[in-house]
Symmetry: C2
Subunit: 338 residues, 2 copies
Amino acid sequence: MGVVVSLDEGKKESASIRALMDLTRADMGRVNELILSKAGSNVEMIPQIANHLVSSGGKRLRPMLTLASAQQFGYRGDGHVKLATSVEFMHTATLLHDDVVDESGMRRGKTTARMIWGNQASVLVGDFLLGQAFRMMVDVGSLDALDVLSTAACVIAEGEVMQLAAAKNLETTEDDYLAVIRAKTAALFSAAAEVGPIVADAGKPERAALRSYGTNLGLAFQLVDDALDYGGSSADLGKNVGDDFREGKVTLPVLLAYRRGTTNERAFWKRAIESGETTDAALDKAIGLMTRTGALADTIQRARHFGGIARDALAPLRETPQKAAMLDVIDFCVSRVN
Amino acid sequence: MGVVVSLDEGKKESASIRALMDLTRADMGRVNELILSKAGSNVEMIPQIANHLVSSGGKRLRPMLTLASAQQFGYRGDGHVKLATSVEFMHTATLLHDDVVDESGMRRGKTTARMIWGNQASVLVGDFLLGQAFRMMVDVGSLDALDVLSTAACVIAEGEVMQLAAAKNLETTEDDYLAVIRAKTAALFSAAAEVGPIVADAGKPERAALRSYGTNLGLAFQLVDDALDYGGSSADLGKNVGDDFREGKVTLPVLLAYRRGTTNERAFWKRAIESGETTDAALDKAIGLMTRTGALADTIQRARHFGGIARDALAPLRETPQKAAMLDVIDFCVSRVN
């Protein structure tokens, strides 16, 4: 297997996100309070589903980025807490709708909301959380932040539709695939990072730096995630190795292995992705092919490429603990795999 | 049958919405252009689905209300056109998600988007249109309008979840039902009407007047719609008599007929709504029971009650062609049934 996450590396990972967690701990406490209060409703099913998602955990990387990027510019107020919560709600709404679209049964090691409360409630509670996200942004009162986040909402949805249209298509080019993840994943990372300097009234170059950092971090994050789906252990990930494979998702490791494969291997990929022949034996074979063709290693290589751009994007900024922590996050994302 | 729409009344209806159409014709032309341009995307499926909905027609009552209520206060700009388009997009996004939630096959006499492009695309294109709606609001730059419309987005979603939770429950009280339609229908009418005075910089009393007008018009509109589902002709409605019945929807005519019914009749309603025994014969019987118990007539009576409140809400406003047209709309809504 070309991709493994050893226990030691597991420790290194948590170490490299530690600085960000420490710096944003107090603010994240306020974000968590706001999440609980804004997910409240007299309509019982809404807090139930919201709590299910909140307790599902996840690293809350996106809101932490908003908080740290506001702190970077010395922000003293509570707008960044509201914006960070908005970002997390947008993310949660997307997950709810995604699980419906992908017909997923598991998310981060827990049964998905749609399996418990149904597709209908998942769609509607997602709409509610998106609405609450916008209300909080309006409450902050920054039209620039509203512009960035509402544009991200559009781009994310556009990316999801793009992905749907390209579903199971092995002829998707790497460029097409990058366009999809740029929209569906990187756009929210980018917006999360950019609203920090916006709320802190920093200048245009600072906004551009954080925007670029977020975009490229998001790309690296998604590519590593795609690779981990064919390696790493289930407990570390909260998802099972092979989930993408069994859902017939066309991710970069698949695209590269398919392009680089022999005629026979391409026939294998077609049976797997297009016809759904995704037994455990087929998954083993897929991982073997990805390793032999270098598809996994090169997916990680691509991730490192974007990680490097993210790093350079922050270079002009003043040295602060926040900047150091944000640079660590790049390593955290990329070092999840070796 | 207690509720019929004769050909003559059909003519009377179009007459009473005529003034509003005439006054907003030029602005609606710009709204329609904006709809087409903002529903555009390089992702093919998005304009396809959007065009399907646009060509499905509908009266576009909500954006016309926004335009007329801005005109009422002498507004000269293009913000009202953007806000009207936002309102229509919010409505369209709700329809897309509703059809998924209700598993509907037909809408306004046309096959629903979800039957052609699937539930997945309907969810995602709804999200895209909602995002575009917010972008246009941000573009107008009024935080008050953003506040009103983002709050409406939350309330609508909350109302839909409420409806889902109360689905097929014949013990729903009239108050519960009113709370549902106040959220899922009246909130958008209310917001559509209120953003007119907001963009025109009118005062608080004017905002309150339009908000109240919109809320009560929306309630009347929904109640008449509920009654028409058990009367009226398919061609007039763009939906078939009995759609709500066959979907087991608990609307006010059903609730009243159930409450007022004999033990045997209640057993009939339980078989129909809870167990789905909704043959044509059962529909005929349902309409018969609604007529005998006065459930249909009283649903209309309730609608007239709210129509009266809407009328009084506008009373303090200056007499203008717009005000007269908005008053006509109340009659249009209520006079759809006799």
